[in-house]
């Protein structure tokens, strides 16, 4: 047998993720700084940040703490959630076209929140809106898994997603249609358009813990998602309890996306685009995709929110509208590419 040079050293060279992660973190920090300094009022960041801890904070500090900081943090949390959920769903369904927005999870989470609002439960108790969003998301992830989980057919998945999204949007429109007052209608429109503007720390505090639980569940499934590259039966024979894995992804997605949508409305395509962009950098390995997709999602959503503020000052464009306008053509491109690869 011919002696082939030792592979071990070379195989050990798993392309390190540090450059990518560092790059994303730096980008995220720079964007966060930019996001905080962006607005009608010029705020000297350092001075204002110091001022936040004084007994009688100056106006700029209040502006920073009450308006810009929650907006920035929420953009990061929601973007991270969408990116992570997209990566996990794609791994579970073994399908690059799975994403929370596309398969109807976002729109049904929005519907959940809208229903809570419509029937007047929003003021009933503290967590009513996020719970509405989470329940809406949960029902749909479960439904999608039931329909498209067995075979990983792209067609079934997308068609089921179209049907569910359509139905959820129709019900949301119905609520809009029957809205008792223009003010109520305006509130409902908010979930359809999607934005991180004008949120307070209350919103952040409300949803951050729920998202965090979702993230832990999703990150926990990394190994199993790797094994699922080989199909469900093989993953089982590699020692993974698939019902448990599915449960983790479904509940994790419902928590993260449901909570996100309940405070920001539908911000489309982040969960689809980000994992797709990151995949080549991690050798297409589902487990390594999770973390970088979360970072990428946070970066992209924050960048989008900055773009909205820079390019449409005054009459501010809603973030969800912008991501949909950019995301939809990208989705089309992805479909064409997938079709080519399958031939």
């Amino acid at each position: 047998m011919t002696k082939i040079p030792m592979l071990s050293q070379e195989a050990a060279k798993v392309t390190p993720l540090y450059p990518l992660i560092t790059g994303l973190l730096v980008a995220l920090l720079v964007l966060a700084g930019f996001s905080l300094s962006l607005g009608k009022v010029e705020i000297p960041l350092m001075a204002a940040a110091m001022g936040m801890f004084e007994d009688d904070p100056p106006l700029t500090s209040i502006l920073l703490a009450e308006i810009r900081l929650p907006r920035t943090i929420l953009a990061i949390l929601v973007g991270g959630s969408l990116g992570l959920c997209g990566a996990a769903l794609q791994g579970l369904l073994r399908n690059p076209l799975a994403a929370p927005g596309l398969i109807g999870v976002s729109s049904s989470a929005a519907l959940g929140s809208v229903l809570v609002l419509y029937f007047g439960y929003a003021e009933a108790f503290f967590l009513a809106l996020p719970i509405g969003g989470i329940v809406g998301a949960f029902v749909v992830v479960l439904l999608i898994y039931g329909i498209a989980g067995r075979d990983s057919s792209v067609l079934t998945l997308i068609l089921a997603g179209v049907a569910i999204s359509g139905f959820a949007s129709a019900l949301t429109s119905l609520a809009l249609n029957l809205a008792p007052s223009p003010y109520a209608a305006y509130e409902i429109v908010f979930w359809i358009l999607g934005s991180v503007a004008d949120r307070s720390f209350d919103h952040v505090a409300l949803v951050a813990p729920l998202m965090a639980i979702g993230w832990v569940l999703l990150l926990w499934t990394g190994r199993a998602l790797d094994a699922l590259s080989l199909g469900e039966e093989t993953a089982t024979t590699l020692g993974f309890n698939l019902p448990r894995v599915r449960f983790a992804v479904i509940v994790g997605t419902a928590l993260a996306v449901g909570a996100a949508v309940s405070v920001t409305g539908v911000i489309a395509f982040i969960g689809l685009v980000v994992p797709h962009l990151m995949r080549p950098f991690v050798g297409h390995q589902p487990s390594r995709l999770l973390g970088v997709s979360a970072l990428g999602g946070a970066t992209l959503l924050l960048a989008g929110d900055i773009a909205v503020r820079v390019f449409s000052p005054g009459l501010e464009l809603k973030l969800g509208v912008l991501t949909a306008m950019i995301g939809a053509p990208f989705f089309l491109y992805l479909i064409l590419k997938t079709r080519r690869e399958m031939q």
Partner: protein, 268 residues
């Protein structure tokens, strides 16, 4: 003692009894061919042995323990399953795909260590795929893909390997290569079950054959004892030409009998 032992295995899908009282036992070091007509229950039996299907009746014991009582993770360290037409859903690099076979031995969050990498290298050499280590699986030919998937299955150092039609889509060269490999794996001490349609390969390479027919083991034993004209007539409804070369038997399916349904043949 047997490594794996099945008794009175019965499975039905709806009204169809797929397996109806199958008994088997196999030791380490054996290469066992599962043969039988389409729908005879070969794949189902393999999936039962892999603990992927709940049985209606019967028991499968591994090292004397009921496999339904073994955790799927513990069983994963002992058994590897290679499904028919195995594919990768993502365009992974070959070395990463093969390293998936190490998952049963790694704790959550634990990275691939030196032992894992050495094993990956060993199985890549074994299956003659080391030159493909950095290739993307989607760029492989059918023969290369089967060998890579086999390497993945071997990476976990299984005592029991269950391979479902690994050679069906291969050209003759690669059929022989994969069969030789399976024989080597058995010689190294593993117990290998392989589903085959090619009766000559079954007869030449397997230590023992299990002929399934109508959900039962119709014949079992060394290839010469199983591949008899009368068994072929009942199980496959064919006649075959037999020959011998270098002391090994070969056979060539020659003619179809009236019907492929075994029951009708039996009635005549």
């Amino acid at each position: 003692m047997s490594l794996i032992e099945g008794s009175a295995i019965a499975i039905r899908f709806g009204d169809n009894a797929i397996l109806n009282g199958v008994d088997l036992a196999a030791r380490e070091g054996e290469l066992i061919g599962l043969i039988g007509e389409n729908g005879a229950g070969k794949t189902t039996l393999l999936r039962v042995l892999a603990n992927l299907l709940p049985m209606e009746h019967g028991k499968v014991r591994f090292h004397g323990d009921d496999i339904q009582g073994i955790s799927c993770r513990a069983y994963a360290r002992e058994m590897a399953y290679l499904p028919q037409a195995a594919i990768s859903h993502w365009p992974l690099e070959v070395r990463h795909l093969v390293a998936l076979g190490r998952l049963p031995h790694r704790d959550p969050w634990q990275r691939l260590d030196e032992t894992d990498l050495e094993r990956v290298e060993t199985v890549l050499r074994w299956t003659d795929t080391i030159h493909l280590a950095n290739r993307t699986v989607t760029t492989l030919s059918g023969g290369e893909l089967v060998r890579v998937m086999l390497a993945r299955a071997l990476a976990s150092e299984p005592k029991l390997l269950l391979a479902d039609e690994p050679v069906t889509s291969l050209d003759p060269f690669h059929q022989l290569q994969v069969m030789e490999l399976l024989r080597d794996i058995a010689k190294q001490g593993a117990c290998v079950f392989v589903v085959l349609h090619d009766l000559t390969l079954a007869s030449r390479f397997c230590d023992r054959l299990l002929l399934l027919h109508a959900g039962k083991v119709m014949a079992e034993g060394p290839p010469e004892a199983v591949l008899t004209p009368s068994n072929l007539k009942v199980a496959y409804a064919i006649t075959a030409e037999f020959g011998e070369r270098e002391g090994a038997m070969y056979l060539l399916p020659w003619q179809r009998l009236e019907t492929v349904s075994g029951e009708d043949v039996e009635k005549k």
